[in-house]
């Protein structure tokens, strides 16, 4: 079954609000991993004063992926370290997505 995989790389501090937005958009799930890296807002390593990055993945229909991306972009892109991208995946027995 063809779906979109939306990946968001952003500041750890946004984990809670992100999950809220993902759930409200109606996605069936999400996966988070810890990450660090660098981008336009400089290097982000796990420091004591700030968490590092998180990498959040959501598998969903293309529409929903765009919708979630839109909200995140609008609400956080200006003030937070954030990268958003989509890719194509084929979910196996994914009746549930």
């Amino acid at each position: 079954m063809h779906r979109k995989l939306l990946t968001v790389i952003t500041e750890e501090a946004l984990e809670r609000p992100l999950i809220k937005i993902i759930n409200e958009a109606g996605a069936r799930g999400y996966t988070v991993t810890e990450a660090w890296g660098s981008g336009r807002r400089g290097a982000r390593a796990a420091g004591i004063e700030q968490g590092a990055n998180i990498r959040v993945e959501v598998i969903c229909e293309e529409d929903m992926a765009w919708q979630i991306a839109e909200i995140l972009h609008q609400r956080y892109f200006k003030d937070f370290a954030m990268v958003l991208y989509l890719s194509d995946v084929q979910v196996i027995r994914g009746e549930k997505f």
Binding site: E11, A13, G42, G47, I48, E49, Q50, Y76, D79, F80
Partner: protein, 315 residues
């Protein structure tokens, strides 16, 4: 009186960080050390509080909390007058410097014990009441009555942060259990305190060094502020200590707290409530300048100055 070795651990950390040594404590260890420090300080305060007259202490806590707000306002005023920073950044820095650093408090406490100078047992309660008010002020100053995450979210962030919960929790446990029942906990929470502080300062030294890059980026003004404002805070703290008739040791603690800047509670709260403020600015000032300054120079300086001018009647 030799040099207190805990300070040398801090310097070791700074040097190791500056030469980019392959040394770091895992985040989990840093968190364990922080939890131990907060609980130790709270517990010790609580045990002492068990013998104190709570009703006499309460009003002084109100005065001290107010001091945090006043200091935040002074910081904001000075930063705005300087015309160097946008409103959001000024407010965020003001929140950091009106609030306090538990690490600095622990160093000042260890210093007084090292020198054999007594202080008010309930001083841990000062940290609790000083941590939050300036943060709320900072949000108010830039957001008015509408923080990005709402007042409910903001309250959760500040009142339910690790610092307040563990300090207050430790205080209450010490108070309820009393000195005798707390004795079996002493090996971990009291006897090991200095060793835990030494490790903690080693890590803080590494952090300070890694933040030093921010100084180049943000320029001279922030560097100046990070050293100069603690002195203003110290004077304000000294006046309040004198007003409240604290002992010399208590005055050193309150002055050190006033000279210190938050690096746990304030950054977390400001990031979500005032996201347009640059977090690197306030953390550089707080961690690369103010913390090292207070640990290495500030605390002994405040002590010697107070020893010379503080009225003997105090305390």
């Amino acid at each position: 009186m030799g040099i207190d070795p805990v300070i040398l651990f801090f310097i070791l950390g700074v040097v190791a960080g500056a030469v980019k040594a392959d040394l770091h404590l895992p985040k989990a260890v840093y968190e364990l050390l922080t939890v131990l420090l907060l609980l130790s300080i709270g517990l010790k305060g609580g045990v002492e509080l068990a013998d104190s007259d709570l009703l006499r202490i309460l009003p002084s806590l109100g005065v001290i909390a107010l001091k945090g707000v006043v200091l935040g306002l002074i910081a904001f005023g000075l930063l705005r007058l300087s015309r160097k920073l946008p409103r959001a950044d000024a407010a965020s820095i003001a929140a950091h410097y009106g609030s306090v650093s538990v690490g600095t408090f622990a160093v000042a406490m260890a210093y007084l014990e090292h020198q054999g100078i007594p202080f008010e047992g309930h001083a841990a309660a000062w940290v609790v009441v000083l941590e939050i008010p300036a943060i709320l002020l900072g949000v108010l100053l830039v957001r008015g009555l509408r923080p990005s995450i709402g007042w409910a979210g903001l309250s959760r962030e500040v009142f339910l942060g690790k610092g307040v919960v563990l300090l207050l929790g430790g205080l209450l446990i010490g108070l309820l259990a009393g000195p005798v029942a707390v004795e079996p906990l002493e090996p971990l929470f009291f006897d090991a305190f200095r060793g835990v502080l030494a490790l903690f300062l080693l890590e803080m030294g590494l952090v300070a060094a890694s933040r030093a890059g921010g100084l180049r980026e943000h320029g001279l003004f922030i560097a100046f502020f990070g050293i100069a404002f603690p002195l203003i805070g110290a004077v304000v703290g000294g006046l309040v200590a004198w007003m409240l008739g604290l002992s010399l040791g208590g005055a050193v603690l309150l002055v050190s707290l006033s000279a210190s800047a938050s690096y746990i509670a304030a950054p977390a709260a400001m990031r979500l409530s005032v996201p347009e403020a640059n977090p690197s600015l306030s953390l550089t000032a707080s961690l690369a300048l103010t913390f090292p300054f207070n640990v290495v120079i500030g605390v002994p300086l405040y002590h010697h100055t107070l020893a010379a001018i503080y009225p003997v009647t105090g305390g």
